[in-house]
């Protein structure tokens, strides 16, 4: 078990002699991506031409298949197999685990006649071509015996229960303090089901060699996919070789595997040839997870000077009956503002919708949409600037646990952001600023997102040509992982970037937990750093023990690694020369990271502040962004370029959250009515105007040996609330129901007589 005390000591990353840490180097795999030559899961070279799979999906939300007729599909040209629950291959029962240390249980497909959600896979066709497979799937006739289900979240709030194993957090006496508070806010905020809409739909290409299967699939977690497939097929984990080298977006939605992985593998086994299968865009909406709707009640009680005395954040959310998941939308509020009397908790409705699950910043992303607007509402009641209100409630220690913060620059983020954005231009009185047909307003919000470190391993080898290759069962979903691992390895080893190769996304490599929860860079990177340090030790031993090395005889503690050389003062040689001579077969070592027990003594988060300026069309209620700026503090930044892209990308997700994104459930059918990219509107180029972000200087030596933290999710946290607050400042219309579409804004304007 490591300790934060070990992490505080200087090391090659924190010393950064090569200057690679923080440098905005181009993406490691960038040339492959801009030339279209990076093969994604559906595009890999298979041993022979793959047959093509296509899924048919359920048209009801709950019930069973009363009759299924696949004869026409079977007779359709080019069809190689058609499976339904009647003839699908045997798979391990759902939820079972047979292999040791399996991270995921069995998840069989076509296992029974039961339908648990609209869009569930009910049949599978494999044909010689995509055209034939799709046509045959459309010929399958199904009769359902439908049953009533719980599909309307708002109508089902009374069915909400405490999530299994969770309790509310009470500190002090909230009811009494709230009742006594001279200034209060009590409002409920709603956010809808949202969808990841990764550009690459989930896909798998699979083939078998004897009793071992190779699968290329689009997944964020290498081991999770490998284990899920092995359990489902009831084969040993090491009979599954899973590869996921390029991933067209994940955002949490590919944290688990889906039916494509199982069906491609089963199909390839049955046919004795490679099979590949992709979800259609439409199938992605129901066939993979979504962010659940959240209803949040926020109650704030403050003294006239703005100090909070009573603070309650309560979230109601939902999940699928068969896949319990709680969107912990209130958790972030436990660490954000000081208040002596507190109540936070969650309630969960189990529904007959597709599975709810993690989506970029689960918890914070929907959660902050409420509190960060409530703070805006409270600031106005108090006649305080929203930044000043937050500063007056800045805690000295974690407001719930009393632990010290590892590092916390929230106030600095807000102050710097205000200055850079031009917050002083904001008229605190709403509805005052006109620009032609537009009403213009500004809003801000704080950002907070937890920081995590998970166990991980990494392997690194150096070959006789001096090339250093990092291997890790890690993934890059667009986050920049290839690039930062190359930077970490190069800086640790004191070599130029060109001397480093990174190989990832392979279940044969030392495991890392994958991409998610913005833990990827710190977790995978720390293991890579440790592997590099172990390689330094191995090479040091090699050099000082080799009579032919200029370093022969040591002292080992004075060995340095710089500019591709290993040296003791002016005695040096290149790494390539050392390895070619002393270990021509190469040197391979592994490293690892595990969380430090004493890291739990600190409250550890990433922080930021968002500033948004919007125009609201006074005729139509359309909201258009005019400017957005974010300031973030997230530990040491590994790559200025890719880190900025991560947080600005998150901010743009906040814009989508605030303005357009919503999967609307039709309660009559239990399905999302918008199930394509013309109906579910994510931001387009034209929506994003003058948007930028900066990072504050920071290093968090309680986080990991490198003092870095995650940035992938911080950018979305609070961003939508800043936009919502800007809409209010523009119009004087306070909306509490996301997204703030033209209809809702107009409705508010009409009610206000605008």
């Amino acid at each position: 078990m490591s300790s934060v005390k070990d992490w505080a000591a200087p090391n090659p990353i924190t010393e950064n002699r090569g200057g690679l840490i923080g440098k905005g180097v181009d993406r490691y795999e960038g040339r492959l991506k801009v030339t279209g030559s990076a093969p994604y899961a559906y595009e890999v070279d298979a041993p022979s031409r793959p047959a093509i799979g296509y899924m048919a999906t359920a048209a009801i939300a709950k019930g069973r298949i009363a009759r299924i007729d696949t004869r026409a599909a079977e007779a359709s040209p080019g069809v190689l197999l058609v499976w339904s629950h009647l003839n699908a291959p045997a798979q391990a029962p759902r939820g079972t685990r047979a292999n040791p240390r399996s991270q995921r249980p069995s998840n069989p497909v076509l296992a029974s006649d039961r339908i648990d959600n609209f869009g569930q896979t009910v049949a599978f066709v494999v044909a010689d071509t995509f055209e034939n497979a799709r046509a045959a799937a459309n010929l399958i006739e199904i009769e359902y015996a439908a049953e009533p289900g719980v599909v309307d979240f708002v109508a089902s709030l009374d069915q909400a229960d405490q999530p299994p194993g969770e309790e509310d957090v009470h500190i002090g006496d909230f009811p009494a303090a709230y009742a006594a508070a001279p200034v209060t806010v009590d409002e409920t905020y709603e956010s809808p089901v949202q969808n990841h809409v990764q550009m690459e739909p989930c896909a798998t290409t699979a083939w078998w060699d004897g009793d071992k299967v190779t699968v290329h699939t689009s997944i964020q977690m290498v081991k999770g996919g490998q284990h899920a497939l092995a359990e489902t097929l009831a084969i040993p984990s090491d009979h599954v070789h899973l590869l996921t080298r390029y991933i067209g977006g994940g955002f949490g939605g590919k944290g688990q595997s889906y039916d494509d992985l199982i069906l491609a593998a089963l199909g390839a086994r049955a046919l004795g040839r490679p099979v590949k299968l992709a979800y259609t865009r439409q199938q992605m909406f129901h066939g993979t997870i979504h962010r659940p709707a959240v209803s949040m009640r926020v109650r704030l009680g403050a003294q006239p000077d703005g100090r909070l005395t009573a603070f309650a954040v309560e979230a109601v959310t939902h999940c699928a009956r068969k896949a319990i998941f709680t969107e912990h939308a209130a958790n972030f509020s436990r660490n954000l503002y000081a208040a002596p009397n507190r109540l936070t908790g969650h309630r969960l409705v189990q529904m007959d919708l597709p599975g709810a699950g993690p989506m970029r910043a689960p918890g914070e992303a929907p959660g902050m949409l409420s509190l960060e607007c409530a703070m805006d509402e409270l600031a106005e009641k108090l006649g305080l600037d929203p930044i000043e209100l937050r500063i007056r409630n800045e805690p000295d220690v974690d407001p719930e646990t009393g632990k010290p913060f590892s590092v916390r620059q929230l106030v600095q983020c807000m102050r710097q952001g205000a200055a850079r954005f031009g917050w002083e231009r904001r008229n605190p009185k709403p509805g005052q600023v006109r620009d032609g047909r537009w009403l213009v307003g500004m809003g801000m919000a704080a950002a907070i997102r937890g920081n995590f470190l998970l166990p991980a391993k990494a392997g690194v080898r150096i070959d006789a040509d001096g090339i250093i290759t990092l291997r890790q069962g890690m993934t890059d979903i667009g986050t920049g992982t290839y690039t930062i691992l190359a930077q970490i390895t190069a800086e640790t080893m004191g070599v130029p970037m060109e001397q480093v190769k990174v190989e990832m996304g392979d279940s044969d490599f030392p495991p890392a937990p994958g991409s998610g929860g913005q833990f990827g860079a710190a977790t995978a990177g720390s293991a890579a750093y440790d592997a590099g340090m172990n390689l330094r030790k191995a090479l040091t031993d090699l050099a000082v023990g080799d009579p032919n090395s200029p370093l022969y005889g040591g002292p080992a503690e004075y060995v340095t690694f710089e500019n591709g050389n290993i040296a003791i003062e002016n005695r040096s040689e290149t790494l390539a020369a050392l390895v070619a001579r002393a270990a021509p077969q190469g040197v391979y070592v592994e490293g690892s990271i595990s969380p430090a027990a004493d890291a739990r003594d600190y409250s550890q988060h990433t922080y930021g502040a968002h500033f948004a300026e919007v125009g609201v069309d006074t005729v139509t209620g359309e909201v258009r962004m005019r400017k957005m700026f974010g300031v973030f503090a997230a530990g040491r930044i590994l790559n200025a370029k890719t880190a900025r892209s991560q947080v600005t990308g998150g901010m743009i997700w906040g814009v989508g959250t605030a303005l357009t994104e919503s999967n609307v459930v039709d309660p009559r059918y239990g399905s999302f009515i918008n199930q394509d990219m013309a109906g579910y509107l994510v931001p387009a180029h034209a929506d994003i105007v003058d948007l930028d972000a900066i990072f504050l200087d920071e290093a968090d030596d309680k986080a990991n040996p490198m003092g870095i933290k995650g940035v992938g999710e911080l950018g979305i946290c609070g961003a939508g609330a800043a936009v919502a607050n800007a809409i209010y400042n523009a119009t004087g219309v306070r909306l509490r129901d996301y997204p703030m579409t033209p209809e809702k804004v107009l409705e508010g304007m009409l009610a206000a007589g605008l």
């Binding site: 048209a59 009801i60 040209p77 609209f118 055209e131 799709r134 046509a135 459309n138 439409q282 047909r437 005729v619 139509t620 209620g621 359309e622 258009r624 303005l659 357009t660 609307v664 459930v665 039709d666 309660p667 009559r668 059918y669 399905s671 009515i673 918008n674 199930q675 394509d676 013309a678 109906g679 509107l681 931001p683 387009a684 180029h685 034209a686 929506d687 997204p739 579409t741 033209p742 209809e743 107009l746 409705e747 009409l750």
Partner: protein, 317 residues
């Protein structure tokens, strides 16, 4: 997508005959809507006659107006110097629609004949009288009211026509020229091309089977300013919740009916000296009010009034 045979039409008349004689045949030009629907198994042609390369892709000056080929792609129509000079409302409607890529493919005739974007029409698991006559209209009690028709809808269908271009053409008083299977040509006003849903929402236009739109005829531009405004959640690349085209004293509304909606009450009121707001009110008073569309009616009224006001300050062609 069901199997089909494909032929590239050699000339217009043989294309028209090929489609007229084969009930499973359809014209294919840009394909941006037809292929979209074929992939979803909503359109199921057994034979496609590709008319995309027939020589109907030019713009000619005719009697002070223009004659636009039916196969001309939207982007080239919008970029044509004479169109930009004479019909800014049409250009603005065209470039408000879809994306640069789609406009490079979608044709004038195809744009007019595109089908509704009603979410229930697109979801083949739901009843829809357009897709399956007699199955019912799930939009009637549906959750997505933004694109609902507020004029001329029926109990069988409340879908709206999604075209931007057609709204501008309606305001401009344009007509289409067609070739019929007999080889005869006929002309009908754009505002008469599409039908209201009635009991047969699956029948969307007054074109006969096999009848091909070969051209759009634009009369000389009207006196007065031209404006096109479209409302949508996203700033670009999204279907409109509502739109309005103003060309002098003529006004048409989009995404409000089964067809591009000529706002005759607005025009009459304006001609009688009403203010833009009063004129818009006159039209909206005739809307099909329901408990779910009050907001859309308010939106369209405000939009129309604002656009008419704006047209007073806009360039006159």
């Amino acid at each position: 997508m069901r199997p089909f045979t494909y032929e590239r039409a050699a000339d217009a008349l043989s294309a028209v005959k090929a489609v007229a004689e084969n009930p499973g045949a359809k014209f294919l030009a840009g394909g941006t809507n037809l292929l979209d629907l074929m992939k979803l198994d909503i359109e199921r042609p057994t034979h496609l006659v590709d008319v995309g390369r027939l020589p109907f892709a030019g713009v000619e000056d005719v009697n002070g107006g223009l004659r636009v080929g039916g196969a001309m792609v939207n982007s080239k129509l919008a970029a044509h110097p004479r169109v930009r000079e004479l019909y800014p409302v049409l250009v603005r409607a065209l470039v408000s629609g879809a994306s640069g890529q789609l406009r490079n493919k979608a044709t004038t005739a195809g744009n007019l004949l595109q089908r509704t974007r009603c979410a229930y029409f697109y979801d083949t698991t739901k009843p829809c009288n357009k897709r399956q006559p007699g199955s019912g209209c799930s939009a009637l009690e549906g959750v997505h009211g933004a694109h609902d028709a507020i004029f001329g809808a029926s109990k069988a269908c409340i879908a709206s026509h999604p075209s931007d271009m057609a709204v501008a053409l309606t305001a401009l008083g344009a007509s289409v020229e067609t070739l019929t299977p007999t080889g005869a040509s006929r002309t009908l006003a754009v505002q008469d091309l599409h039908r209201l849903p009635g009991d047969t929402p699956q029948v969307e236009t007054d074109l006969a089977p096999g009848e091909l739109i070969t051209a759009v005829l634009l009369p000389p531009p009207p006196e007065g300013g031209q404006v096109y405004r479209k409302v949508r959640g996203r700033a670009s690349y999204a279907h409109g919740i509502a739109s309005v085209a103003v060309a002098g004293g003529r006004v048409a509304l989009g995404a409000v009916a089964h067809k591009p909606w000529r706002a005759a009450h607005i025009e009459d009121a304006l001609a009688a000296g009403a203010s833009p707001a009063e004129a818009a009110e006159a039209e909206m008073a005739k809307a099909d009010r329901s408990d779910r569309n009050a907001l859309k009616i308010a939106l369209v009224g405000r939009l129309a009034a604002a656009a008419i006001e704006e047209s007073k300050t806009r360039r006159v062609a």
